[in-house]
């Protein structure tokens, strides 16, 4: 088993990864729709 600290680091990296994915998606949809939240238009 990994230590708690290592798990924490993995979790933090995963969290940052998904945040980056969502940010990229919002940038992409902003190009198409002009809005960062153009997913709902």
């Amino acid at each position: 088993m990994l230590s708690s600290k290592a798990t924490f680091m993995i979790n933090l990296v995963s969290l940052l990864f998904f945040l980056a994915v969502i940010a990229l998606q919002m940038l992409e949809v902003q190009k198409y729709t002009g809005s960062y939240f153009g997913f709902f238009q």
Partner: protein, 441 residues
Amino acid sequence: MALINRILNALILVLALVALVFGVMLYQKRQNLRAHSDELAQGVEKIVKRLAPGSELAKRATYDDGKGNLGFDNVENLNTITADIEKHAEAVVAQRDTLGQTVASLANEFDMMAEPVQPETLVNLDTYAEKTQEISASVEAVKARNLAMAAKLTELGRDLGVEVQAAELVSTDPAVYNAALNRLGDKLNELNQINDQYSTAITTVVDKLGAERMEVQASQFKDPKQAEQALTTFANNLEKIRTSLDSVDVMEGRIDSLETERDRLADSLGISKENVIRLTNRVEQLELQNADLLTQKPDNTAPVESQPRTEILEGRIVDVNYDWGYVVINIGQSDNLTNNISMTVGRDREYIGNVLVTKVFNDYAVAEIVPEMQQGMVLEGDNVYWLGEEAALSTPPVGGSVTPRPDEENGMLSAPPTEGDEPSEDTGTGGSAPINLDFGF
């Protein structure tokens, strides 16, 4: 620490779900955009084919299920093809503007429209349809006017005797319609010249005959509004003049006959004058001879009882001179005619008058017309009679009675008395019985 990790794990799970949802929605959005792009590409392809059918640009600007130059697989050529399409569109717009300006200019130049056409109205999509309809209607009206003029000119040419076809007049070939128009123009010029000559002739005739007599003025023939009435008046007056000329012809014929009669009478007068001269000379010769005889004859001047003459003398008037009042008869001394015999003039069974023989020649004699006994015009060819002294003393002539003149020589009558007088008994022959007169007319 474990708690923090659990919270992080939960947060990661949530973010993962959000990222998944956003990914799906982003995919749908891209799909929509792709479909939109495809439709635009197909629309552009259609537009290009409509704007430049069969051109190189139309062959290049294809969609071809995304594989053509407008497809999503050839994004690198999209800018080039769209630039070419834009250039072509600008050329089409320029062509449209030029056409609009040209049509407006033509419409304004031919003055077909009620008001000038602005080119903007022809390039404006909202107004061009209405304006083009107005121009088309005006063109149709001009075309109808053109055809009507051609038909009228053709009819005019037929009336003038010039063969002009309507197809020639509406032809777009200048040589064709100019030839037809020149034929018409030449004929009109010819007619105009003839008209001028007629006008000049009529004016001259009116001037010669007199405007008052013709009841028209020469200037009226040059006014189309007055020419017809003036011509009618002119023709009526010409008819009157022609009728008068017919009368003049009749009068001329009568004058000719009178002149012929005058010439004949003048010739007769000339003959008569010549006869008078000749007779006068003869009388002078006879008087000279008589004087010679008187000087040579013995003295036998004892009165001899004269006996009334009983022979009947009959002759004919061969010449009449009314100016001098004498006639020439065709009996003379050879017929025992002597001077101072009053002879009766008759025509057929009509008593004309008496003539008194004044000069007797060998075969003719001159006698004066007795005016108071004249009951008709003595003419050439009338018969003259002397029925003897007894008849002359006792019998009145036809239509009157005879009274012997007291100054008669040798008992002969020189002129009959006036009508109604009784015969005198102291003439020395009063005892003679009247004889029955029969002139034998």
